[in-house]
């Protein structure tokens, strides 16, 4: 068993599911996790692990959920692939136009493309009655409080709403009200929750699931916004990473996009293999 560590998990969109593989690998290598700080989909995965349950049950659950709701998630996978297909045939271009237009329209008329009705039952099924105090490993969930205009860590109260908030990616899902706060996912600010880490005696272990930078001459307004958002998030991440003690960069994750929900089992498998390899090469504290 190693010295206790603080584990930082993030990842944009569905890539956060890779945390399942990371946690399994850390568990198999008997790494002593004293605390987890998570953002995005990494938060429910970490909560499942911190409850003492096998996070891999979530792999099947996510695969089933995305399989059943493919129609509701129409276009999300395509949107996440912005700039990935330099030459689109005419039919593809038309479909792309419709998806971009739908995204814009949904965000002008509502607070996101999807509604919580789609996801709420699944979260309630897993975490409905649990609180942060039920967790065997302390967990801090990183979110942005719109009222305060800053990133915060939530470490107490009911899990359900906080985990919803961790996945409330602006533009995709509406914000979540928790008490006086109005919360959205912090992964849009920086895909790693490094903003509020209080330095204590445990070394900080950060798992980065990088996205490739696709610099391209954009063709649509949404592509322009997407690139600009990516550039500023990268700059913030680079600066914040200076505060971490150990950094595992899972390079294999670069090939996956934030909306690759068909790839869930492969993302988890790849993350496990890569974390295993990196842990074997690292002298743990």
């Amino acid at each position: 068993m190693s010295e206790p560590i603080t584990l930082v998990l993030g990842g944009t969109g569905i890539k956060g599911i890779a945390s399942i593989g990371v946690l399994q690998s850390f568990y198999n290598h008997s790494v002593n996790i004293k605390k987890i700080i998570a953002a995005g989909i990494s938060a429910p995965v970490s909560a499942q692990f911190a409850l003492g349950k096998n996070p891999d049950t979530l792999t099947d659950e996510f695969t089933r959920f995305f399989g059943e709701n493919y129609r509701s998630l129409w276009g999300l996978e395509q949107l996440s692939g912005l700039l990935r297909s330099p030459k689109r045939p005419l039919a593809g271009s038309f479909s792309y136009f419709l998806r971009e237009r739908t995204y814009c329209q949904a965000n002008f008329m509502n607070a996101g493309v999807l509604s919580w009705e789609l996801i709420e039952p699944q979260i309630a099924q897993f975490f409905g009655n649990y609180s942060f105090s039920d967790l065997k490993i302390p967990l801090a969930v990183s979110v942005i409080d719109l009222k305060q205009g800053k990133n915060i860590l939530i470490q107490q109260g009911k899990l359900n709403d906080c985990l919803k908030a961790s996945m409330a990616f602006p533009g995709i899902l509406p914000p979540v009200a928790v008490g006086e706060m109005e919360l959205v996912s912090s992964t849009i600010f920086c895909d790693l929750p490094l903003d509020n880490i209080a330095k204590d005696d445990t070394p900080v272990f950060t798992i980065d699931m990088p996205m490739p930078f696709v610099g391209d001459n954009p063709r649509t307004l949404l592509e322009v916004i997407s690139i600009v958002d990516d550039i500023s998030s990268r700059a913030i991440k680079e600066k914040l990473l200076a505060g971490t003690d150990y950094l595992f960069r899972l390079e294999g994750m670069e090939k996956f996009r934030w909306g690759d929900y068909h790839e869930v089992p492969e993302i988890v498998r790849q993350a496990r293999i890569e974390t295993d390899r990196l842990l074997e090469k690292t002298n743990l504290p």
Partner: protein, 244 residues
Amino acid sequence: MVENIQQKRLFRNQSRICSKNLVQVTNLRNSGVNHFNLFRHSTEGPAFLRSWLNEAVCDVAALSKSIQSNRNNIKALKILFDEKRFEDTKIPFSAIATDIMAGETVIIKRGKLVDGVLASAAIPAIFPPVVRGRRVLVDGYVLANIPVPQLRSQGADFIISVGLLELPGPDYQNGVDLLYYVESLKQKRLEQWAIEQSDFHISVDMSQFDSSHFENYLTAIEKGYRTAQQVIPQLLEKLEKVHV
């Protein structure tokens, strides 16, 4: 003491230059440049107009790179700068833009002022990116709203930063407002890091101004002038201490 008088004289001269530019900016009103403000009508106009504009913006967003073209910007910049070049400026001047192909900040200090300033003011999604060779340039605010490190890299020994960015209110009507708010939080954070590296910071209270309401620019200029006037004694004191 002599240095102090010289510095005061310098500030007075700068003020004169500013006033001259202000007259030029005011003259733009009669220049045939179209001042129609789409965003003002999209939030304040009658419901049917708002709805129509939203639909139009959705169409534009899915088909085009920006909501407006650079036509009016070029017209306005040509009135201000004509054929003048960066090399002609009396005080060394550079414009900052973001190259979205490379994901990095670009310092423009050569060529026509119109071209450099156009790229530096190409607000993403509002105006189209400006293509210069292999570079695709948008407004420099993306990474360097207050470009302190960029100025330091050019040899500046005393840097005065000026903060104008105010966070919009947390109230939102739709997903676009939310995305804009979060983007502002990111800019504020990047700006904070830049300010920490400057030698003197001037913060202009812009809370009563909305970046999409262009008609208040005279009041904004006045506000900036008054704020600067208030801090000049502290600035001179600091300059004296560091013997610049």
